[in-house]
Symmetry: C2
Subunit: 339 residues, 2 copies
């Protein structure tokens, strides 16, 4: 079953919303300070990659925009992925994960890159568990957080990482302060841009607290065809149609070139843009969207105002402690030649 | 001129010392909180690599042992370096940098990997400066820290990184607390190991506050031949002689297989060992050193005691804030195909 949203552009059905202060926490992964700390360690844990060089943070850099600001990412052995790394900031507010929505939750998502041969490249879930379970301080931490006889499991690794990711939210953007009552929080230009995105119909899809669609249950994605109006020069210039997107998950004809609607929050910081990272600047991304999704050639004033509005969605990033990664005295994995 | 130390083993000339609370700061790079913060940002700055993927921290992970715990490191494009990454912790107490001593100061050292094609791979100093200078918040920070009309220079990038690195010290090991008067800080086994390393003569070289030679002026290195007694089975097993070490810097015959004496501080955490990272465990590294440097086959009790002593040199690591990396809204370097 596809979840392609069929909507009339410009319907204005959904209102723009401030970001909630907290995301919904799933019942099977209650949060705690200790779990978040463990997750932060694991997020920076290069030992979860086969070469001991790549961590979650390598491509989703939380010291910056939660991306690597590359078109596509490098994984182990200099291998390159095929899609632009989406930001981890506010991913907790998305109802599906990955560009093609192939994971329903942050927990499911976290399990993917560790095993992906062009990302972290671990040979198996068990290999990842063995590495973490072989580090005494991790065993203690997992035991305190999860309890049970064998607390270091692949599920629990993913749960801790997801609990950490749910702390990566940026509610204090100019837009949020405006929506919460500070009428001077946004510039005139940004306010004009806000009006434009509603009039033009951008917010038919870029709606909800994360500007990535209305709030939905986990696993229920909000997707859209891109380009909706194929055939513009942009298709070729930026190679927009080669990757079939959600079709690769569902193999259903109507899912060809269908993608999860990406968030607008902090979008000014997550260049380059689109699933293949082919567009370097935000103003060009706005022009491309106008043409490919609305079949409109946006004038430069409109683009400027929309970019000002999108900049008003840049949030305040939390201060975090640098994690200390548990060490195993006296030994290191002696990596095989080539690893 | 070589600086090979010619010493009689077992002479016991130098006393073991606690680590000073602060390293010496060079006159031309006075420290400040703002400079240290800037240096911490730059230390984690992947934009100083040609692919935007590798930072100083990639190989000198300060969340852990200040190394990557790999035999040798991966740089950009999956390229591999030839030598084991030395720890950045307490590097401020070394009088020369790199395994072969080819940099006199932390400032000089910091300039190397950014341009090294198998590390961060930037094409030129100017290219690195242009990247940093193109980020508005960095320009402001450099201006505040260094002043002047063009504060973002390659020298100043290196100075900020070096100022940060001088904060990476671990004075509170069991050994330091013992030397400062807490006679119960070290275990009996560690104390026995301390006696052994002095009796055997290990501390002829592994002396001084960093157990890497006596304090010397910057640029005056403390080197030793390794193996001192060539011909043991270890030479072949661990391929100890292929890399000629300091000879590659000086091209002087007597510098063949000569290396800077590495620190013992936190050595229990920096496996694998030696310039090529060929030895996976600390106990084996102790056996190798006994044979290659002293021509002695150490018995298992002696190895155990020395390892206990070396573990007593594991310090307390400072808590640090996670840096926020300055962002450039609306744009990213659109990396060329392959980059």
């Amino acid at each position: 079953m596809t979840s392609l949203a069929v909507l009339t552009y410009g319907s204005g059905t959904f209102a723009l919303e401030a970001l909630p202060k907290q995301p919904i926490v799933p019942l099977n992964n209650a949060t705690s300070l200790q779990k978040v700390e463990l997750g932060r360690q694991l997020f920076f844990e290069t030992r979860l990659s086969v070469t001991n060089t790549v961590s979650c943070n390598s491509c989703h850099n939380v010291m910056g925009s939660g991306t690597d600001n590359r078109p596509t990412s490098f994984g182990v052995f200099g291998k390159k992925g095929g899609r632009n790394a989406p930001t981890v900031w506010n991913a907790a507010f998305l109802s599906v994960q990955f560009w093609d929505g192939r994971a329903a939750t942050l927990e499911d998502q976290a399990k993917g890159p560790i095993l992906n041969p062009v990302e972290m490249g671990m040979p198996s879930e068990q290999a990842a568990v063995d590495i973490i379970n072989g580090i005494p301080e991790y065993r203690e931490r997992f035991s305190k957080v999860f309890g049970g006889k064998n607390p270091v499991t692949y599920d629990n690794i993913a749960k801790a990482i997801a609990a950490f990711e749910r702390t990566l939210i940026t509610p204090e953007s100019d837009f949020d302060r405006f929506k919460r009552g500070n009428k001077r929080a946004m510039s005139k230009e940004a306010l004009a841009g806000m009006q434009k995105v509603e009039e033009l119909g951008c917010t038919t899809c870029h709606t909800g607290p994360n500007f990535a669609g209305p709030a939905q249950p986990a696993g229920q994605g909000f997707y859209q065809k891109f380009p909706m109006f194929p055939g513009s020069a942009y298709d070729k210039t930026y190679n927009l149609t080669a990757d079939l997107g959600r079709y690769n998950v569902t193999h259903m004809e109507e899912d060809k070139n269908v993608w999860r609607v990406p968030t607008w929050r902090n979008v000014a910081l997550t260049a380059p843009y689109f699933h293949n990272g082919a567009v370097a600047t935000l103003d060009e991304a706005v022009r491309v969207m106008g043409k490919t999704q609305l079949n409109k050639d946006l004038d430069s004033q409109t683009v400027k105002e929309i970019v000002a509005f999108l900049n008003s969605l840049t949030g305040t990033f939390i201060n975090q402690p640098m994690p200390r990664l548990p060490q195993t005295p006296g030994t290191a994995p002696l990596l095989k030649e080539g690893l």
